[in-house]
């Protein structure tokens, strides 16, 4: 996979997700030591590394795209990673954030910042600081934005499913998961 003297590099990110898929990866328990031997983490919140400084073998994408920053990050991952894997229902299907997709964006914002029953916002202003990434009209699954090579649904995918996927990809084996590991919940 990577050059002779280096371990394969893995990058991860959470876009419009809840970090639940990352938590599920930590659920591999003591195999985390094995993982640390097997791979080197590149850009990933796991090692708090925020930039790509060279090519990466496997990129794990948690979350779909709900704003322009998600799109930019996802494209950056596509540019730098040989293999991209959509992890979890948000990346493969939009997931919980996509519950807003059949409601017009203006109505969502009005409910969240102006009219909602628990909102106290006397000025009635909807956050519009230029620092805030612009929201997209809808939440998009990752594969509707860039090419994705492998898909692992689940909310979140189980630690076992993540582990078996990673190991298969690292060893260059075909990804064949047993029936019980492909779940949508």
């Amino acid at each position: 996979m990577a050059g002779k003297h280096t371990r394969p590099r893995v990058a991860t990110c959470s876009l419009a997700g809840c970090f639940g898929c990352h938590m599920s990866l930590l659920d591999i328990d003591e195999r985390i030591f094995e993982l640390a031997e097997l791979v080197e983490f590149a850009r990933s919140p796991i090692v708090d590394k925020k930039r790509f400084d060279r090519r990466v073998d496997i990129g794990l994408i948690e979350g779909g795209c709900c704003n322009e920053e998600n799109v930019a990050t996802l494209r950056e991952f596509r540019r730098h990673c040989e293999i991209l894997v959509s992890i979890g229902d948000c990346a493969t299907a939009g997931g919980v954030p996509a519950l807003r997709n059949d409601i017009p964006l203006a109505e969502c914002l009005a409910e969240a910042y102006v009219g909602g029953p628990t909102v106290h916002n006397p000025g009635g202003r909807i956050p519009d600081d230029p620092e805030l990434p612009l929201l997209l009209d809808k939440v998009y699954p990752a594969h509707e934005v860039v090419r994705i090579d492998y898909f692992l649904p689940g909310c979140p995918p189980s630690a076992e499913a993540l582990w078996q996927t990673l190991v298969a990809l690292l060893e260059g084996r075909p990804l064949e998961l047993p029936y019980e590991l492909i779940k949508y919940d």
Binding site: A93, N101, E144, Y150, P153, L177
Partner: protein, 241 residues
């Protein structure tokens, strides 16, 4: 000819009774034909096309097509599986199927079909249609987001409950299940004891107050693929590239 005849399914000769559908004859011979709108207690309807087989090379709905002597049927070929898989993926993108927040998850026939076919994501863009929820009935809930328009509830209300609580309205993408009368389900004579929620294959029509009674790991399709009681699964493993 005493009403028996022989058909060929995937190269295997199967005895059938005259008047049986292909789906019934296959089932009696231990061959699972995937289905969604078909239900053993209800009349045939033939709307979902998940049961599509090739008969003499032509796509045919196995749940409505009666067997004929000498029929040659493909049920497990790559082409048939691809047709069915495509139909299942289209059902997913056409509605709003948020499995992670659905109380029917693990017990849902649509989800189970996708699992059986090893579907990790649909190849078509999601449509995210705007669909209402009818939660006004004290004992029943109708969430149109999840409805696959199989019509099981419509038939069950008429054929098993002796009522006409539900019917179809609209055409094409606007087609929907509609309660009899302007007040939604609450305005009908449907009750929680009717069979309409029990026959719904997905989480569209639910009996209130029954959610999440079965823990993860013990639900109907957690370990056993749908149709596994009829035959062996068509592909346990999935490969995706």
């Amino acid at each position: 000819m005493n009403g028996r005849l022989t058909i060929t399914v995937d190269g295997r000769r199967i005895e059938a009774r005259a008047g049986q559908t292909i789906l019934e004859a296959c089932q009696d011979a231990g061959v699972y034909v995937p289905r969604l709108c078909a239900h053993p207690k209800l009349s045939v309807y033939g709307s979902c096309r998940v049961c599509t087989c090739l008969v003499g090379g032509r796509a045919t709905a196995a749940c409505v097509q009666p067997v004929q002597p000498g029929m040659v049927i493909e049920n497990d070929s790559d082409r048939v599986l691809e047709i069915r898989r495509t139909i299942i993926e289209m059902l997913f993108v056409e509605g709003n199927h948020f499995c992670m927040v659905c109380e029917k998850s693990g017990d849902c026939e649509l989800q189970a079909l996708a699992y059986r076919f090893g579907i990790t994501h649909p190849r078509f863009p999601y449509m995210f249609p705007e669909r209402p929820i009818d939660a006004g009935h004290p004992e029943l809930l109708l969430d149109h987001d999840r409805c696959v328009l199989c019509g099981r509830c419509v038939r069950a209300s008429a054929e098993l409950d002796g009522k006409s609580a539900l019917g179809f309205a609209g055409r094409g993408l606007r087609r929907r299940i509609e309660a009899d009368g302007p007040r939604g389900l609450a305005g009908t004579d449907a009750t929680g004891d009717d069979t309409i929620a029990e026959v719904c294959p997905v989480g569209a029509l639910l009996r209130k107050g029954t959610a999440y009674r079965t823990p993860y790991g013990r639900r109907r399709y957690d370990h056993e693929p749908i149709g596994g009681d009829i035959d062996a699964p068509c592909g346990e493993a999935q490969e995706d590239r």
